[in-house]
């Protein structure tokens, strides 16, 4: 519990982190409560209000606070549901990549040898290869669609997690307490998951937070290339791609979803950066 206390203390005492945290809490609440707080459904068509601008522009109406799109769907509602889609996809990506990356990183760091060498060289290749191309190829193999996007983006996130967990495992492995546990007869499984894993939580948490923002950006990018969410499901990246053709006379269709992405990613980055400085004062994982 000491660890969680430290995390919350860091957030409480740094005003940037606090603002980001509150903001993300707000966005998460919006995502969870979308059906109750959105004024309309995300697919409800109001055919007499096509491309209505936001209320502060000329021709805007209060009924559609942030305007409507070319099919007459309320844009605010779509953005609210978009928070639900984008954030839950981001969460899935983080969850999967942390799960897979942690297991591979722990095993690779703990056992070493040829397994470690193969893992390291694959991670190196993946780190230098333009990851979006890999994701595009994976989506092409599996076929476009929401879940396949999650898988592709999750694969993109592996190398970062593996590298961090492997590095931490190598460092922990040589410490006395591990030796002591071995003397007491702890088996490999117990050693890895009971002793080493808990000591990697700090960097892992930071990586997960930064991975969240990376995940949201990558899912949006695939959505923009037409490989992600299918209409009418609102996902921020797909919404930008949909609005692109109408950009010249309906700027809000492109600008607003992008601002949502920017804000969420920015908050995750600030929070991740502050926590990294606090939990990893030596800056071992800075680059």
């Amino acid at each position: 519990m000491f660890f969680l206390k430290k995390v919350f203390f860091t957030i409480k005492t740094n005003k940037f982190a606090l603002v980001s945290f509150v903001f993300l809490l707000f966005f998460s609440l919006v995502a969870v409560l979308a059906p109750w707080i959105a004024p309309y459904s995300f697919s409800e068509v109001h055919s007499e209000f096509l491309k209505t601008p936001p209320v502060w522009e000329e021709g805007g109406v209060w009924r559609f606070f942030l305007g409507t799109d070319d099919l007459g769907r309320d844009f605010l509602s779509r953005l609210i549901y978009g928070a639900r889609v984008s954030m839950s996809l981001g969460l899935m990506v983080v969850f999967l990549s942390v799960l897979v990356g942690t297991v591979i990183g722990l095993l690779s760091g703990y056992y070493g040898g040829w397994l470690d060498r193969i893992v390291v060289s694959i991670v190196d290749i993946m780190m230098s290869f333009p990851s979006i191309l890999l994701a595009i190829v994976i989506v092409a193999v599996l076929g476009p669609g929401l879940f396949n996007t999650v898988i592709a983006v999750n694969v993109m996130a592996w190398p970062g997690v593996i590298r961090i967990v492997r590095g931490e495992t190598l460092r922990e492995k040589s410490k006395d307490y591990v030796e002591a546990a071995r003397v007491f007869g702890a088996g490999s499984f117990r050693m890895v998951f009971k002793h080493i894993l808990p000591n990697t939580t700090g960097p892992l948490l930071v990586q997960a937070i930064l991975g969240f923002s990376e995940g949201i950006l990558n899912i949006a990018a695939l959505g923009f290339l037409g490989l992600g969410a299918r209409p009418p499901l609102p996902e921020w990246g797909t919404m930008i791609s949909d609005g692109r053709a109408l950009m010249t006379d309906s700027w809000w269709l492109v600008v607003l979803p992008g601002i949502c992405i920017l804000l969420v990613v920015l908050c995750f980055n600030i929070l991740g950066g502050v926590l990294r400085d606090a939990l990893d004062p030596k800056g071992l994982n800075q680059i």
Partner: protein, 335 residues
């Protein structure tokens, strides 16, 4: 270890990497549902004989490992096969698209380095000042943005509202440019200064789009590493010796700060190409990214295979040169 030994060992380590890459690329692409023959002949399907003929012609009737061996042995001879869609050789298509991406990425890289390093330097020099906060804030926003969204915003601002820059392509259609080098900035010079201006105007927005995220990284990295180095003893010694501002900061501190900056630049090359895929899509820039995305959609196996192989090789080579550059800046690397 001496330099040539270091060079040689580093060079040898490329071979297994290339092997893993070719195998991965080759077999992953084979998993794409729907075979290229069906795709080419259309959904109604052609007569089985023609189908069989095409399968034999492209070697698709052989077992996977044979196809792989044929692919590798041909690639070693410089033959990457033919595009299933256009029928032209993959190498020719690659050569046609590659300069556009290089031009875009290179100018974007220069933009990010030449702006990012001085700004990061300034932020580190005046740490916790208003400049520092402004630059750091901008760099934080810079790498929280979606590349494609930023491109569209720039189009909206500069092309739609201000009418300053064109929206897509590399040059106005009215200029006829002979592709001598493939780099539009160079080729257009032979046509005249008006053509050059047009090429330059077409380049501005894509470069701003692609260069912003690297700019943010470079700025952050420069600031961070300089701040660490300012704490070091040798900087204090240099100041204590009474050396001037120029010698202390630009010669002593900056040279040491270059090492992490080179690392970041090396790591950035991959993400620069990734950003190029999106930037090229936004600006209809006829480069490698757009070419490959279209190849995925058309299930053009040879183009994908050859294109990704080429990109991988180029990235591996670039990383190799980054390593060499390291050893030049920081001779301690050998040990």
């Amino acid at each position: 270890m001496n330099l040539s030994n270091f060079f040689f060992r580093r060079f040898l380590s490329i071979i297994p990497t290339l092997f893993i890459c070719t195998v991965l690329v080759f077999f992953i692409i084979r998993l794409i549902p729907g075979d290229p023959v069906d795709h080419l002949l259309g959904e109604r399907g052609a007569d089985p004989e023609l189908r069989q003929e095409l399968m034999v012609k492209w070697g698709l009737d052989r077992p996977g490992y044979q196809q792989y061996l044929i692919f590798v042995s041909r690639a070693l001879k410089g033959d990457l096969g033919q595009s299933l869609v256009s029928g032209r050789s993959v190498w020719a298509e690659f050569k046609e698209h590659f300069p556009a991406t290089v031009e875009l990425s290179f100018v974007a890289l220069l933009f990010s380095l030449f702006l990012g390093i001085p700004l990061g330097f300034l932020a580190a020099l005046k740490v916790n000042s208003i400049w520092d906060f402004t630059f750091s804030g901008f760099s934080l926003i810079g790498y929280s943005m979606s590349v494609f969204w930023w491109g569209l915003i720039l189009i909206l601002l500069f092309s739609v509202y201000l009418g300053l820059t064109p929206v897509s392509g590399r040059i106005d259609v009215l200029y006829e440019i002979k592709p001598l080098t493939g780099f539009m900035l160079v080729d257009s010079l032979f046509t005249g200064s008006a053509a050059f201006k047009s090429a330059l105007k077409h380049l501005v927005l894509p470069v701003l789009t692609l260069g912003t995220i690297p700019l943010a990284y470079v700025m952050r990295m420069t600031r961070f590493s300089l701040l660490e180095i300012f704490q070091e003893d040798f900087v204090r010694t240099a100041k204590g010796k009474g050396l001037g501002f120029f010698r202390v900061y630009l010669v002593h501190a900056f040279r040491n700060a270059l090492i992490p900056i080179i690392t970041v630049t090396g790591l950035m090359l991959g993400s620069l190409l990734a950003g190029a895929v999106l930037t090229e899509t936004v600006f209809s820039w006829p480069g490698i990214g757009k070419w490959l995305v279209q190849a995925v959609l058309a299930r053009d196996y040879p183009v994908l295979q050859g294109g990704i192989l080429m990109i991988t090789m180029i990235i591996i080579m670039l990383n190799f040169f980054v390593d060499l550059l390291y050893s030049k800046v920081d001779p301690r690397v050998f040990n």
